[in-house]
């Protein structure tokens, strides 16, 4: 696993700006971060995505210097910063709770880091004004944090973490404290601001939509390990393991042994499907190997007319229908009891002059042989 990650990183164009080399963090018996290798390019927005407790915050805190790695190295812009104290690192962080100093005004909050650097007063004032303009908070310079709404606090926190022009910006659940509607609107605003100042940025989130919208690349974390790194599209279309396939988006997963292994095609026997899954490309692996086939609901066709029995086809009953506006998700229960999800455009039935199937109707699910993704772990 580590090998594939390394290769992916090495093939990335340009020298890495930040290199995280085999970093491990143990808290007593628990290993929070388990051998993470990661290269980040300059001006990239990288998202660490993973379920709760998988070690995202711990990794971020090690980058900020708040935790010391048990082993491994962190190199930023050619400098080994592994042992550097947080106050000496050219890295700033925006905290999940924003951590605005309640006894200081907005302007003083933004100026705090600059004052620590003993910057001349005139320059501080100019930089604070620039930051306030950047996040459109100039009017609120003299407010105290408790006099601001959640979205405004988020912008002040961003301005404060950008004020020192850090080489690396860390964002821990940057929008986690906002409600859903505000969050979607703020995502794009935040990306715009980050691109405007041109800062290299690592964000942590457990909201996949947020990661997909904001990041240029995503790293999927589980139990302290980085399972896959890639662009949002790569990760969605070519997951390299079951965890990623199921974590990003929705999928139908079938387990079974490889029963036909030709150079340009394979067949997997799926007892749950009641037939074989035919895939029109070869895989590296011996016949008889246990693998998983992942098929996205939008790639599953739904038919009301009987289909010829064979690979990639199964018969079932409509078990549930979820209407989601422009499309619906049909849950089809197969004879084995397995439920297959199929996404159907809302106008599909009408355009083809078909009466939409309803609960209990017999339907046929099928997919093209190039659709399943074969996963070996």
């Amino acid at each position: 696993m580590v090998e594939t990650v390394k290769q992916a990183a090495a093939s990335a164009q340009g020298a890495p700006y930040l290199r995280i080399a085999n970093v491990v963090k143990k808290f007593g018996d628990t290993t929070a971060v388990d051998g993470v290798d990661l290269d980040i390019r300059k001006n990239e927005i990288f998202a660490l995505l993973g379920s709760s407790g998988c070690g995202k915050s711990t990794l971020l805190r090690m980058l900020a210097g708040m935790e010391r790695p048990t082993s491994g190295k962190i190199i930023l812009d050619g400098e080994d910063i592994t042992a550097l104290a947080p106050y000496d690192r050219p890295i700033n962080m925006m905290f999940q709770s924003y951590a605005l100093f309640p006894h200081m005004s907005v302007a003083d909050n933004i100026a705090f880091g600059l004052k620590q650097d003993k910057m001349p007063k005139g320059e501080i004032d100019a930089r604070v004004a620039e930051m306030l303009d950047l996040v459109q908070m100039r009017k609120y310079a003299n407010r105290k944090p408790y006099q601001l709404s959640g979205g405004q606090q988020q912008r002040v926190a961003l301005a404060r973490s950008l004020a020192k022009r850090p080489k690396l910006l860390l964002l821990d659940e940057p929008l986690g404290a906002l409600d859903k509607k505000l969050r979607q609107q703020t995502q794009l605003e935040l990306v715009n601001t980050l691109e405007q100042v041109g800062v290299t940025c690592i964000m942590v989130t457990h909201d996949q939509e947020e990661a997909m919208t904001m990041a240029t690349r995503i790293g999927i974390m589980s139990e302290g390990q980085l399972l896959q790194i890639g662009s949002p599209a790569e990760i969605y279309d070519y997951p390299n393991c079951r965890f990623t396939a199921e974590f990003i988006g929705d999928t139908n997963m079938f387990a079974g042994p490889v029963v036909v292994d030709e150079p340009d095609s394979v067949e997997i026997d799926s007892p749950e499907l009641g037939s074989r899954i035919h895939i029109d490309h070869g895989i590296t692996g011996p016949k008889g190997m246990q693998v998983w086939a992942s098929i996205r609901p939008e790639d599953v066709h739904l038919d009301v007319v009987p289909q010829a029995a064979g690979p990639n086809v199964a018969r079932g009953q409509v078990h549930d229908i979820a209407y989601l506006g422009s499309f619906s998700v049909y849950h089809v229960k197969l004879a084995s009891g397995k439920v297959v999800k199929s996404m159907v455009a809302a106008n599909h039935w009408h355009e083809n002059s078909i009466t939409p199937p309803t609960w209990g109707d017999t339907v046929y699910v099928s997919w093209r042989p190039d659709m399943p993704v074969v996963l070996t772990r």
């Binding site: 900020a64 106050y87 620590q116 006099q147 405004q152 404060r160």
Partner: protein, 283 residues
């Protein structure tokens, strides 16, 4: 449950309040009594107040008590804040449980024992190193500080536990060193707790009789000691006058503190409401 108090509960309430306040009211009334006999009303007079202020023994005790109270509160606030910080922020160090227990021990230990053990300590110190040379201001001050700093530590610790620790992390992230963070971020955030710890210490010290009794010397008699010794010889209208003044001062201070706190809260609420209105109008 019940919006109205039953007559029985009302009765209990009234009796309770009477029980608490009748002694204080009668004390104030009798401080204006012309007669020297405390139990007989002899007409209105302020002469006991005049004689109180002329009484050098009482005035010296008042002065000493206030000095000790301020000095102890000051020392207790400094030491107690540091102890509270350690208790709240350094969660696991060898002996941390023991430290926490020892820190709060003076609060639960019978004062007789605290006082006695300190007395023994001072006596043996005097024999070994000659310091303190006599019992007086210094010894009382040390005793009161020990007692008060436990309270300050508890108040400061619980306030620190409420504060989001990422504030301190953020300050460090922005380039501030630990000592600077303590003074620029942590201290301002716990300043209210420190202030209330200070006031608590002042009252504890002003009021303390038992520990003081062990630690005071011939030349140093505090106000509670004077009152106690005078009252033991019989009730005394001068003491009534002194007590009335104390009630007045304490009452005014408490009302003022409440008023200031309410005011601050009201301003804060107004500001928050204004911010909400504006952000509502913007979006």
């Amino acid at each position: 449950m019940h919006n109205k108090l039953s007559p029985f509960l009302k009765g209990v309430l009234v009796v309770g309040f009477l029980f608490l306040y009748i002694p204080i009211v009668s004390l104030i009334v009798y401080s204006f009594n012309e007669s020297k006999l405390v139990t007989v009303w002899g007409g209105f007079s302020t002469k006991w107040y005049a004689s109180l202020f002329a009484n050098e023994q009482i005035m010296a005790a008042v002065k000493l008590s206030i000095e000790i109270a301020l000095a102890s509160a000051l020392a207790a606030v400094v030491l107690g804040t540091i102890a509270g910080f350690v208790l709240a922020r350094f969660k696991r160090f060898p002996g941390s449980t023991l430290f926490a227990g020892m820190m709060t021990a003076p609060m639960v230990m019978p004062e007789v024992i605290t006082g006695l053990s300190m007395l023994l300590l001072f006596i043996s110190m005097q024999q070994l190193v000659g310091v303190p040379s006599e019992r007086g201001f210094i010894t009382i001050w040390v005793g009161h500080t020990t007692l008060c700093m436990a309270y300050v530590a508890v108040v400061v610790r619980s306030r620190l536990l409420e504060i989001d620790q990422s504030l301190e992390d953020a300050a460090m992230d922005l380039g501030a060193r630990p000592l600077k963070i303590f003074f620029v971020i942590t201290l301002p955030l716990v300043s209210q707790a420190i202030a209330s710890g200070f006031l608590l210490s002042v009252t504890l010290s002003l009021d303390d009789l038992v520990t003081t009794a062990f630690l005071s010397g011939p030349g140093s008699t505090t106000l509670p000691q004077v009152i106690f010794s005078k009252v033991r010889l019989g009730l005394n209208p001068e003491i009534n006058a002194l007590a009335s003044i104390t009630v007045l001062v304490v009452g005014v201070v408490v009302l003022l503190a409440n008023y200031l706190m309410l005011n601050a809260q009201r301003n804060r609420d107004k500001a928050i409401a204004a911010a909400m209105r504006e952000s509502g109008a913007h979006s």
